[in-house]
């Protein structure tokens, strides 16, 4: 490995919490922090972050997107790395921010710099921090859904599986069609609910057919969609963000379940 690629002994990491984790499921954020700290990172959470801007970007509102992106670029300046517990938000920063500022050289350079430093959580742990094992335990059979943006924009596929393989007591049963969209699609799920809901049904059927008792994925949007559909169907499959299991933070109820 080239010296330049070696992570600093104790890199300073800015956590991009994501709006859905912030609002819906803070435990994913704390799980991410635990994983990062266990890997030797110093984690900070910039206070001015809100959202990556995808809702505006994918609705064609470029001006608001640029405004939001500019503030993210500023909030995360100076960190060695920026880590995101979501392939979709990480993909937004990594793939799309630079394209937003093609006509603004100064911001473009900063956006490109941020893009280079930004990683999805599991790929950061495996590819950058060279984590091979997490010291967690989870008893059960889990199946894993590959969220689209992480998979296709950032090539997140083997990294979560590699880490899950080190969780004691956990059996991974692969999900047929794991690379097919669950139907969430951000604003798509409310703009075209009929299609979205039908796609979620197919996904839920595939999940149930695996016989797994737990569904994991790396993106809150997809997880809420799949959990919502499974629960509407009366399925008992537990749904969690992969970070929760990897960090061993599973004392909170699964997504959409009441406190015991």
């Amino acid at each position: 490995m080239a010296l330049a690629q070696m992570p600093a002994a104790s890199p300073r990491v800015g956590l991009f919490v994501t709006c859905l984790v912030d609002l819906m499921r803070p435990s994913v954020g704390f799980a991410a922090i635990r994983l990062l700290e266990n890997a030797g990172c110093r984690v900070e959470v910039p206070e001015t972050q809100t959202c990556c801007g995808q809702p505006a970007y994918n609705s064609g509102d470029r001006r608001d997107t640029r405004d939001i992106a500019r503030s993210v670029v500023a909030a995360f300046a100076g960190y060695d790395y920026v880590v995101v517990p979501s392939g979709s938000c990480a993909g937004m920063i990594h793939e799309h921010y630079p394209a937003l500022f093609a006509d603004e050289p100064e911001t473009l350079a900063k956006a490109q710099d941020l893009a280079r430093r930004t990683h999805e959580l599991t790929s950061f742990l495996v590819d950058v921090m060279k984590v091979e094992r997490v010291g967690a335990a989870y008893s059960g059979t889990v199946t894993y859904h590959d969220s689209c943006s992480g998979l296709r924009e950032l090539k997140v596929k083997r990294q979560p599986r590699r880490l899950l393989a080190s969780v004691s007591g956990l059996t991974l049963k692969e999900l047929p069609g794991a690379e097919i969209c669950c139907g969430f699609g951000g604003t798509f799920c409310v703009k075209y609910p009929d299609i979205s809901e039908r796609m979620a049904t197919e996904k839920a059927d595939d999940i149930k057919a695996t016989g797994a008792d737990t569904l994991l994925a790396g993106d809150m949007g997809c997880l809420m969609n799949m959990a919502g559909k499974l629960q509407r169907q009366g399925s008992g499959v537990r749904v969690r963000h992969v970070a929760e299991v990897l960090a061993g933070v599973t004392d909170t109820p699964p997504i959409g379940e009441p406190k015991a």
Partner: protein, 472 residues
């Protein structure tokens, strides 16, 4: 063809409860995907070919005027004629003129999406000329009076019983009690009915997968051989093609052909790859006396130099449709015009306007599977997003969406107020949802809760908990 894309949502609601359609879609989904993947995995240089193919078409699009003129010169040298048509109307008139010139009463047709684009069949019928589709799938849907639902498998939305019904109704000269359960019986029957039509036709119309500038040749790929009979037997052969089908050389066509069938059906090559160069020469055994190329623009040149130019690389393989989860859910007819799926979502607005077809580029989750399988590396999601940008700039997106977005963006740009608002929302939704952990119904989110539960938030936002911990 009259578009129903404005009624996309209604089309969708109809499509998802149609058992026949859903059964047919369920069957097609895996077939195309598995076969494509197997074909791709057997060709180590596939990814490299994609780059080459992209570069070939980009080069053509940058030099389109040069290659078009060269193509016309070569067609003329071979004894053919090129008809330049700016619009669908001009193309229809050109074809009518050719038909009138040979006194045509019947016209056979190979599969052509451009013919659908210019609504050729309806027009010819109005002019007293009988068009006969000779591709089996096209023939079936012609009997049923409906448009194709897929760009290479036009009758993919149908099941065998639909075909039996259509044949029973149309082929009244045959024994009504004939056995029709075996697919081969249906094939034989169609062949028997079509054979005399091939011989009777005065004009044969085909599309083109490629137009080759260096020789003035055109190429079609088919699996049934109907294209050959269509173009060889009649007095005149009309090639109906849009201008972006151009490639500089045979070798370029060969490069792209290696991608085409693999991406489409998973075949290494289609059963027939047929090259046409000019009319019958004196020492040819057969062939048409006249060779015409009706070259259609229909708005395509308007997108040269725009953010949509890459779409003109499309070779109509249908890989994007075959891998699209939205197409797999609603089928092709729901899209409401000629071109469905991701390629249709980008192309349709350029041809009939974004005002008419605004739903199409919006009805995508941006899952990116289309782009990942596109042999020509067309960034389909990116271009759908560009259409959304044009809509947004022109205030065409629904007012409710705009209002919701403006409300959210106002907060997202003001972190302190955003914290207050999200903190309140999380606490309220967390509190009321605590007993069940989720909501079966939520105001303003009925689209979600009609078919799904909405999980209750944990209660306090991450940021508020983090701040407390940091202070502690």
């Amino acid at each position: 063809m009259q578009s129903t894309t404005r009624a996309f949502k209604a089309n969708v609601r109809k499509a998802i409860v149609e058992p026949g359609l859903q059964k047919a879609l369920g069957m097609m989904k895996t077939g195309f995907q598995v076969r494509r993947l197997a074909a791709v995995e057997k060709l180590p240089e596939f990814e490299q070919l994609r780059d080459q193919a992209r570069d070939i078409k980009n080069h053509v699009l940058e030099n389109l005027d040069f290659y078009l003129e060269r193509f016309e010169r070569k067609v003329t040298e071979a004894g053919g004629k090129v008809h330049w048509c700016r619009s669908a109307e001009e193309a229809r008139e050109a074809i009518l003129g050719i038909c009138r010139g040979v006194g045509a009463k019947t016209v056979t047709k190979g599969k052509s999406m451009i013919a659908e684009e210019i609504a050729l069949n309806d027009f010819l019928e109005e002019e007293g000329i009988e068009p006969i589709e000779t591709d089996l799938g096209e023939y079936i849907i012609q009997l049923r009076g409906e448009p194709p639902s897929h760009i290479i498998a036009p009758a993919i939305h149908l099941n065998k019983t639909d075909v039996i019904d259509a044949f029973q109704k149309a082929h009244t000269h045959l024994d009504p009690n004939r056995p029709m359960e075996e697919p081969t019986a249906l094939l034989e029957e169609a062949r028997g009915v079509l054979r005399p039509k091939f011989l009777a036709a005065d004009v044969g119309i085909t599309g083109a997968n490629f137009m080759i500038a260096e020789t003035g040749s055109t190429i079609i790929v088919t699996n049934e051989g109907n294209g050959d009979l269509t173009q060889i037997l009649p007095k005149a052969h009309v090639v109906l093609a849009s201008l972006e089908k151009l490639v500089p050389t045979f070798e370029d066509a060969a490069t792209i052909l290696r991608l085409l069938a693999r991406s489409a059906t998973g075949q290494e090559f289609s059963v027939y790859t047929t090259v046409s160069t000019g009319p019958r020469r004196p020492d040819d055994l057969d062939g048409p006396a006249e060779f015409h190329v009706v070259l259609l623009d229909n708005g395509r040149s308007d997108i040269l130099g725009t953010e949509f130019q890459d779409m003109l690389r499309c070779i109509r393989c249908s890989a994007c449709l075959n891998h699209c989860p939205v197409y797999a859910t609603v089928g092709g007819h729901a899209y409401g015009w000629v071109y469905p799926g991701p390629m249709g979502a980008v192309l349709t607005p350029t041809l009939i306007g974004i005002e008419e077809s605004g739903h199409l580029p919006n009805a995508s989750t941006f899952c990116g599977r289309c782009e990942s399988v596109c042999p020509m590396r067309i960034p389909l999601p990116k271009m759908m997003r560009h259409w959304r940008e044009r809509e947004f700039e022109r205030h065409l997106s629904p007012p409710s969406v705009r209002a919701g977005l403006a409300f959210w963006a106002w907060f997202a740009k003001r972190p302190r107020l955003y914290r207050l608002a999200t903190g309140l929302a999380a606490r309220l939704l967390g509190l009321f949802g605590r007993a069940h952990g989720r909501y079966g119904w939520l105001p303003l989110a009925s689209g979600w809760t009609r078919g799904r539960e909405f999980p209750a938030p944990e209660g306090q936002t991450f940021m508020s908990q983090w701040r407390k911990r940091s202070r502690a």
